[in-house]
């Protein structure tokens, strides 16, 4: 590979066929996708000397310059940073369902759904951003380790298949990615939410501290802590500490939160070993029956519609859970008529997300003389406390955690107050009562019925078969949701809150409520496992049946836990990339 490196950084094209395929110089590695996982794969592979091609299906993004709404004041945006306009709603009819992440300040990071259709056999809101950096630009940034309990869960409960790894296998890689990404948080010593290599955490405000004490006093197994987030509280590798402006998802010129664009892709670029090709939609993988390897990645240039082929010793699929799965399903051959590496038939199945949008809120008297300063870009987190021991056992399996925050109400409370005129204006000049709310994120089980597959005739404008998604919550999720609402209310009441009310956005058959997909933690459709007969990937995220194919995004997940998954994707990706490099050095992937 060292000889190859000398000619890197330029496409050497040789026309083989007018219609199909220009044969490219062979790379050491191809990474499909540049989001959380792809960025890490690119960094690790190129830092280890691999000549790496990153294929990104969307546009390129220039750090800072392309953060077009960053630091815009509310009055500088037509709808003051609120909902998107009617024309955008019509184009992005799926993304408009999620008013939480899709707004006037962030809409340019999400898809026009008319150009990127899929088929919902049951409501499934598929949130996507096709551009360099992918969803790492708009992600929620919460970063939690999985625990030993999470990797053992399937084996213990007899659900799905067993993870082929345990916490100890991933722990050093969590250390590694946390130290580099920069995670701020508090050390707690909890077995269900292991501590990591953290920068100092952001701080709870006065009411959140009160809640922490009261809740922990009433329920000793419940702990409230500051959200562990990939946002710096101390400078790191040229990235500045957070300046507390607030809306991270618009992009951050000071690189204070982790994204591929701010952190991993620059590192990959600095090696001189990475080439990132935008507008490169991967159609499928070519399989060499004789060698039993992926021999090429077939690409359609989104702008020119040209068909291209790229070759490498190894291929890392990091195109998001459903994106990678779609590519694999579309990669058929004599050996794999149902999708590459899919003799087991599990590809596309066992789709999971986190079910959420259920919780409680309330107000609390007192603390009127206290306030805070700065827009803290995270809230509090309450780690899982159900089914973590014999005494916390429930009639469902697994559990949930909460994200929430307390703050003083502002002018928004005015619509609920009767009256108008100078009195109303004077009332709203003062900060209102303190209010807290929290929403639960619940684990979902891997079930065969929840699946994606390719439509047999409908295709997108690049000729790729549309994905059909068929996914719904099951009994275990609904049973868990009872606790998710009630436990939140119970904790608020224990902390002295009034006007406590439970909310639950789920509506049967509806969209924009709490249907699958909205958690934006879709995963599981090319799962890891010990048995090639029931899983796609082995303990190194390597396809059981195709040794030079790795999948390290959400598709690889064997169970979902209840923690936000991105940190785990980072750790798995770094681990798999380093494994692949070792294998190449040993000559095992030739």
């Amino acid at each position: 590979m060292s000889k190859k490196r000398e000619t890197r950084n330029r496409f050497y094209m040789k026309y083989k066929n007018v219609n199909i395929a220009q044969e490219m110089e062979e790379y050491d590695a191809i990474v499909v996708g540049s989001g959380i996982s792809g960025g890490w794969a690119a960094k690790e592979l190129s830092e280890k000397g691999m000549k790496t091609l990153v294929l990104e299906r969307g546009r390129s993004v220039t750090h800072s310059t392309d953060y077009i709404t960053e630091h815009k004041r509310p009055w500088e945006l037509a709808n003051r940073g609120g909902e998107v306009d009617n024309a955008t709603k019509e184009e992005s009819y799926v993304h408009s369902r999620d008013r939480g992440v899709f707004n006037e300040g962030t809409k340019h990071w999400f898809l026009n759904d008319k150009d990127h259709p899929y088929i919902e056999e049951k409501p499934f809101t598929w949130v996507r951003g096709y551009h360099e950096g992918g969803r790492s630009i708009m992600w929620g940034r919460h970063s939690y380790r999985w625990s030993p309990m999470d990797f053992e869960a399937n084996a213990r409960d007899g659900v799905g298949v067993d993870w082929p790894i345990r916490y100890e296998d991933l722990a050093p890689w969590y250390d590694y990615v946390e130290s580099y990404a920069g995670i701020s948080g508090e050390l707690l010593g909890l077995s269900q939410l292991p501590d990591g290599k953290f920068q100092k955490g952001m701080e709870l405000n006065v009411v959140e501290k009160h809640m922490r004490n009261q809740i922990n006093g009433a329920f000793p197994e419940r702990m409230l802590t500051i959200g562990r987030v990939a946002i710096l509280t101390e400078a790191l590798n040229g990235r500045a500490a957070c300046h507390y402006c607030g809306p991270c998802s618009r992009g951050c010129s000071t690189s204070s939160y982790f994204s591929s664009v701010s952190t991993t892709l620059p590192a990959a670029r600095a090696t001189g070993n990475m080439t990132l090709r935008p507008h490169s939609i991967v159609h499928s993988l070519e399989f060499d029956e004789e060698k039993g390897r992926v021999s090429a990645v077939r690409v359609i240039d989104a702008e020119t519609m040209e068909q291209l082929e790229f070759r490498a010793k190894v291929v890392f699929l990091c195109a998001s859970a459903l994106g990678s799965t779609q590519i694999m399903l579309n990669s058929t051959s004599n050996r794999f008529p149902n999708g590459i590496a899919n003799s087991s038939g599990s590809l596309g199945h066992y789709l999971m997300d986190h079910h959420f949008r259920i919780g409680a809120g309330g107000t609390i008297d007192g603390f009127d003389d206290r306030y805070y300063y700065g827009n803290r870009p995270t809230g509090f987190y309450i780690p899982r406390f159900r089914n973590i021991s014999e005494s916390t056992r429930r009639d469902y399996v697994r559990g949930f955690g909460y994200q929430g925050r307390a703050s003083r109400q502002g002018w928004g409370r005015g619509t609920g107050l009767r009256g108008f005129g100078a009195d109303l204006k004077n009332t709203l000049r003062d900060a209102g009562p303190w209010r807290a709310s929290m929403t639960a994120f619940g684990e979902t089980l891997p079930r065969y019925e929840n699946h994606v597959r390719l439509d047999s005739d409908q295709k997108d404008k690049w000729g790729i078969p549309l994905l059909r998604i068929n996914c719904e919550w099951g009994e275990n999720e609904f049973a868990m949701r009872e606790d998710m609402g009630n436990d939140a209310a119970e904790m608020l009441e224990a902390a002295g809150f009034k006007n406590v009310s439970v909310y639950n956005r789920f509506q049967e058959g509806g969209v924009g409520g709490a249907e699958p997909g909205l958690g934006i933690h879709e995963m599981g459709t090319a799962r890891m496992g010990r048995d090639p007969g029931t899983s796609i990937l082995n303990e190194n995220n390597q396809a059981h049946e195709v040794p030079n194919l790795f999948v390290t995004d959400g598709a690889c997940m064997t169970s979902s836990a209840c923690q936000n998954p991105s940190l785990t994707y980072m750790a798995l990706t770094a681990r798999a990339a380093n494994f692949a490099v070792e294998e190449m050095k040993k000559g095992n992937l030739m």
């Binding site: 003051r80 701080e203 405000n205 006065v206 206290r370 300063y373 700065g374 003083r408 619509t415 000049r429």
Partner: protein, 188 residues
């Protein structure tokens, strides 16, 4: 509005520093004050409806020791929301509500809403508010739509956010627990 009043209000909008082109346009005629002082072209509202919106908005958030909704150009924000953000149904309902406000004013006082005295306007708006609270319709009442848009338009405007409330752009630090008196008012 007389000239002196117009000047006083403009002085407030500009924080005392009256810029000449704006002031001369305001002084050129009372009916053009202050909502038409900007270069904004109405897209949905007629100029009469615009004046009515500006009048009601100012009743909801009046000028006090800080400028009110009119100075913050809430009427322009309302026109933008009506044009690009509301559904056709909401837009129709809102415009109908404006017509109704004038019809009620005509019936009660023989003049349009904006030509009523401030006292009459407040009484009419109070009636509208009572009706809004009593009605249990599926759609929000015109008064509630108007109030919500006025509050949002005002408190997210530069005037509302920075003069009436406390706007913090890039704090630089996060301080989790400070005395309320240090800020003394709500964040925008």
């Amino acid at each position: 509005m007389d000239r002196r009043e117009a000047l006083r209000r403009v002085g407030m909008i500009m924080g005392g520093a009256v810029s000449l082109p704006l002031a001369s346009s305001v002084l050129s005629g009372c009916q053009t004050a202050p909502s038409t002082a900007s270069a904004y072209t109405l897209q949905t509202l007629t100029s009469d409806q615009d004046e009515l919106v500006a009048t009601i908005a100012e009743l909801i958030i009046p000028t006090t020791d800080t400028p009110g909704a009119k100075a913050a150009l809430v009427n322009e924000y309302v026109d933008i929301v009506l044009t690009d953000y509301m559904t056709e149904e909401q837009r129709t309902q809102f415009v109908a509500g404006l017509g109704e406000a004038d019809a009620v004013a005509q019936a009660a006082h023989g003049s349009s809403f904006v030509d009523c005295t401030e006292e009459q306007q407040i009484a009419l708006l109070t009636e509208m508010e009572n009706e809004a609270y009593d009605s249990q319709g599926e759609n929000p009442h015109f008064f509630m739509m108007m109030k919500q848009m006025t509050l949002t338009g005002y408190y997210t405007s530069e005037i509302g956010a920075t003069q009436e409330l406390m706007y913090v752009h890039e704090a630089g630090v996060y301080r989790p627990d400070i005395p309320y008196s240090e800020i003394g008012k709500a964040y925008s």
